[in-house]
Symmetry: C2
DNA sequence: ATACAACTTGAAGCCGGCTTCAGGTCAAGC
DNA sequence: GCTTGACCTGAAGCCGGCTTCAAGTTGTAT
């Protein structure tokens, strides 16, 4: 699979794909004699994984560490699992912070509805 | 209230408080004759609001716009409400993306537990 | 009165995560 | 065979959000 195809499939700019590769997130992408990338199915699965993790805000560095460990084999299983546990915890905190901000916004939006209603009444009175 | 007290109360570095002020998020902080800031209760409420919104990732620019509109009075009620509605929508999307990543991590962590159990069994056998 | 911590400013620096640029190679269609 | 577009590279640039720096002033405790 060519880079443009991967880009289109996962809706990630080609530049970003190259950037991820340079950052060490895609260490196995093969290139043909003339240097053109050919993404395997496994590469694509990693791309999809990276996309998902990045969309939740996991840092590139953390993903690199995880992927490096992955390629070191079974002796790193525990460390890999621990990374996922740590990141999961951070995501829960983040989700909860966002949730409480959503609730605060709900309340404020509601207040605006009331305030706006009152203002409009005032305007009608003056007519 | 002095800047160091506000800093301590809300657990925000003094440099960040000055940065927010410069960015236009705290347009009303008064200074005494010798130029030292004195945060009013209202300023503090804004600080707390900004902290909450920033913790959920609302951009400084958006907060600035909202705060500018606030100081323009009732004629901006609708626009302010719309900003909150738009940001609320983005937060819901963000929260949901995080939630599905959490679920994916849950699944993977579980898989690791199984894999690790199997590996340990193998190790025992060999002993 | 002197030291020392806390305050001030504008400007520069840093970090993460892309994004763009310059300059070159390659491949497919006309 | 020539153009055109997709690919390649390393390096530089950009943006948001702080953070640090340099250099100076103020306020408080001994």
């Amino acid at each position: 699979m060519k880079i443009s195809e991967v880009s289109e499939k996962y809706n990630i700019p080609v530049d970003t794909l190259r950037y991820y590769e340079k950052a060490g997130l895609l260490p196995n992408v093969q290139k043909n004699e003339s240097g053109i990338r050919d993404y395997s199915e496994s590469d694509c699965n990693w791309v999809e994984f990276i996309k998902c993790m990045r969309s939740a805000g996991l840092p590139v560095k953390v993903l690199k560490r995880y992927i490096d460990l992955f390629h070191m084999g079974d002796s790193t299983l525990n460390e890999r699992k621990q990374i996922l546990i740590d990141e999961r915890k951070k995501l829960i905190e983040k989700r909860d912070a966002i949730q409480s901000t959503i609730e605060r916004l709900d309340y404020k939006i509601n207040s605006y509805e009331h305030t706006i209603a009152i203002c409009e009444k005032e305007l009608l009175k003056r007519k």
